[in-house]
């Protein structure tokens, strides 16, 4: 299925990451956005509020982020491609209903333009410290997908990809931007609509008599309907069976939770999305994402000039984590350098994935400013020893 030309702003533009994400959402067929103003993400909803009335779609400014996320789950079941946009404090408030989206298998997108935290932290300055919250923030056991673009151009594509993956897997997909990427302005080329492939909603062809809303085939993702189709389904946040009816037993819990986990884990290889450069013969591989990946480049160049074989690996999909990829490299290199704007989040995954085959050095940063390339360079030197 191709994008609708009426919703695609084809051409070369000068946009910041927030605006580019908004255009990505429109191109992806988003028709519902609920949001609450929060720096540094507000530009996304501002653009949606301006653009929707000209292309068809509803923006509602909710009373808080609890309401925004709940409305998004409702809108998904109403038949919309739905999105909300926020930053740290709002992301915290959305956690409960991100869990609801996982449990109700509501396809939806959450953009988090990360800022410094904890709490109110640094509203106008960058952070990358919500990465573990993205994976583990809602209670209970579940799997979801998180992307991390590093340029306005990629914000456009990442948002489209987020919508497509949310439809394919029926999970909330998180676009984990950061303030730098959200607010930097660069050239963004938006192609013709026929160059944008969209994953359509997996509506069932079964009759109401045959259809069970949570029965799945081999890929463990159930087919969907929308409210008003005449199926009279029940959907609940409680543990449920294939009919969607609550069942309070450990057997039902095991069956459901296992499927919610496996529908992502069994397809992890399909979900590896990394940018790699010179990792083949590298002694050191720098692992980073978002703005930290761009700050790593001068450090990598400097080290290479000195003859150190440095590879570059950027996580575009951060969750599920590409552990196989990391393990393969771990067996060949002297060490990983992980650059992220926090005091150790994705580095824990890198360490886990290496299974002790190599060393891992973190270059941390508390947020509010980007890393000094010099600090990254020093870590590369250390790792190359």
């Amino acid at each position: 299925m191709k994008a609708d030309p009426k919703r695609v702003l084809t051409g070369a533009h000068y946009l910041d990451g927030d605006h580019a994400a908004a255009e990505g959402a429109l191109a992806a067929g988003c028709t519902f956005v609920a949001g609450y103003p929060i720096t540094p993400s507000t530009e996304v909803v501002e653009r949606m509020a301006e653009r929707f009335p000209r292309v068809g779609g509803v923006f509602i400014q909710m009373e808080d982020e609890l309401g925004s996320m709940a409305a998004v789950v409702g809108a998904a079941w109403g038949g919309s491609k739905a999105m909300t946009v926020t930053s740290g404090p709002g992301f915290s408030l959305m956690m409960e209903n991100i869990g609801l989206a996982c449990m109700m298998e509501a396809p939806c997108v959450v953009v988090n333009v990360q800022r410094g935290g904890p709490s109110t932290g640094l509203p106008t300055l960058p952070g990358q410290a919500d990465m573990m919250q993205a994976k583990w923030g809602s209670h209970g056991d579940y799997e979801l997908i998180a992307l991390s673009p590093n340029s306005p151009q990629e914000c456009f594509w990442a948002t489209i990809k987020a919508f497509n993956l949310s439809e394919r897997f029926r999970v909330p997909v998180l676009v984990m931007m950061d303030e730098c990427v959200g607010h930097m302005t660069e050239k963004v080329v938006i192609p013709e609509a026929d160059q944008i492939e969209l994953y359509p909603r997996r509506y069932t062809k079964l009759s109401p008599e045959e259809y069970l809303p949570f029965k799945t085939g081999k890929d463990l993702v159930p087919e969907m309907i929308k409210a008003g189709d005449g199926y009279k389904i029940h959907v609940t946040g409680l543990t449920h069976d294939e009919r969607g009816y609550p069942v309070m037993t450990w057997e039902a819990q095991e069956k459901l939770v296992r499927r919610l986990i496996e529908k992502i884990r069994l397809f992890k290889d399909e979900l590896v999305d990394v940018e790699e450069e010179q990792t083949d013969n590298a002694d050191v591989v720098v692992v980073s994402y978002g703005i930290s990946s761009r700050v790593s480049i001068p450090a990598i160049q400097k080290a290479r000039k000195e003859g150190i074989k440095v590879g570059y690996l950027r996580l575009i999909i951060a969750w599920p984590f590409p552990e196989k990829k990391i393990y393969e490299l771990a067996q060949k290199i002297k060490g990983f350098v992980v650059v992220e704007m926090n005091y150790g989040q994705m580095v824990l995954e890198v360490e886990r994935a290496t299974k002790g085959k190599t060393k891992t050095i973190l270059v941390p940063h508390g947020g509010g400013w980007v890393h000094e390339p010099e600090d990254i360079y020093k870590a590369i030197k250390e790792a190359a020893k």
Binding site: D4, G29, T31, F32, A34, F52, P53, R54, V55, G56, G57, V58, I60, M62, E63, D64, L66, G67, S68, A70, A71, V72, V73, G74, A75, A76, W77, G78, G79, S80, A82, E96, N97, L100, M104, P200, R201, Y203, K226, A227, G228, D229, G230, Y231, K232, I233, H234, V235, T236, G237, L238, Y245, P246
Partner: protein
């Protein structure tokens, strides 16, 4: 009982319940306690649903969490059992995604007014096109009888063991002051009046609100030594006063005080969708593209 009598009794028992076609009978028996009023509230709602002649296919029901939060699970409509307090925003998303739907929120006082109070205020302010039915049993019942934002002063609950000393909300006053276009209150005893009121609420455009005062014998009545659910029904009979259009500020409910019931507000103002669409069309003229529902609607 003779064989013949037994057979007759069995046939009687197997007779179809008049509301069966609107209920998920495969989920019976329900979880509610004997003499709980929620079942009566559901019956009145189903009577209203039939009377209002709204196409069932286009009707959705959303509940939050709690005893009344289980209503969505038993009604044979597209039904959603959302998170605690978030039934109204969930329903808002559902309605805006597919404006042809009639969306009903059916939940309890703790859910809609306690934890979800903020959403209630804003949905009423926006005149979001929702019918909100709030079963008020004065207590958090599902969790074992804790104090609520509706517990009358001096009433005993498990978290106010010496009595509640906080002022409870007056729900009709709250709803009306926030902009609801239809506001009524009935007790679970007033099934016919309640059903009539719910019919009007369902047929009303915009934010309609019906409060149902409901007995909780297991927790509220037992802790306060008020007898059983039946005794509470008797209490409603003797102590509820019908006063349509009553002064909203006088609708507070005290501990075992008189309960004023009736229809208090029935007025018109543009709904959220009407207001936004009219406003945008006025400004953007022919450039305005109205969203009418899911794009791939078949």
């Amino acid at each position: 009982m003779s064989e013949v009598q037994l057979k007759k009794k069995k046939e009687e028992l197997e007779e179809e319940h008049p509301m069966e076609h609107l209920l998920r009978m495969e989920r019976m028996p329900h979880i509610w306690c004997p003499t709980c009023g929620i079942g009566t509230a559901v019956t009145a709602f189903l009577m209203a649903l039939e009377k209002s002649q709204i196409p069932l296919k286009d009707t959705a029901i959303v509940s939050g969490i709690g005893c009344t939060g289980r209503v969505a699970g038993y009604v044979k409509l597209d039904s959603f059992h959302s998170t605690h307090g978030r039934a109204i925003p969930f329903a808002t998303g559902l309605k805006l995604a597919n404006p042809k739907l009639k969306v009903v929120v059916f939940s309890g006082d703790g859910d809609i007014i306690g934890i979800g109070g903020n959403h209630f205020l804003h949905a009423a302010r926006r005149n979001m096109d929702l019918t909100v039915v709030c079963v008020n049993n004065f207590i958090y019942a599902m969790t074992g009888g804790q104090c609520a934002a509706t517990t009358p002063i001096t009433a005993n609950t498990s978290t106010s063991p010496y009595g509640n000393f906080e002022q409870p909300f007056n729900l009709p006053y709250l709803a009306a002051s926030c902009g609801a276009v239809y506001v009524a209150r009935w007790t679970a005893l007033d099934v016919r009046r309640l059903a009539k009121s719910l019919t009007e609420a369902l047929q009303k455009k915009g934010f309609s609100f019906v409060e149902i005062i409901c007995p909780c014998s297991t927790l509220y009545a037992r802790r306060n030594r008020l007898g059983t659910g039946l005794d509470l029904m008797k209490f409603y009979h003797d102590n509820s006063v019908i006063k349509h259009g009553a002064d909203l500020s006088e609708l507070d409910i005290g501990f075992q005080s008189k309960i004023v019931v009736g229809k208090f507000i029935d007025r018109e103002r543009p709904t959220f969708i009407e207001g936004v669409n009219q406003g945008l069309r006025g400004v953007l003229k022919e450039k305005f593209v109205e969203y009418g529902g899911p794009i791939d609607d078949d």
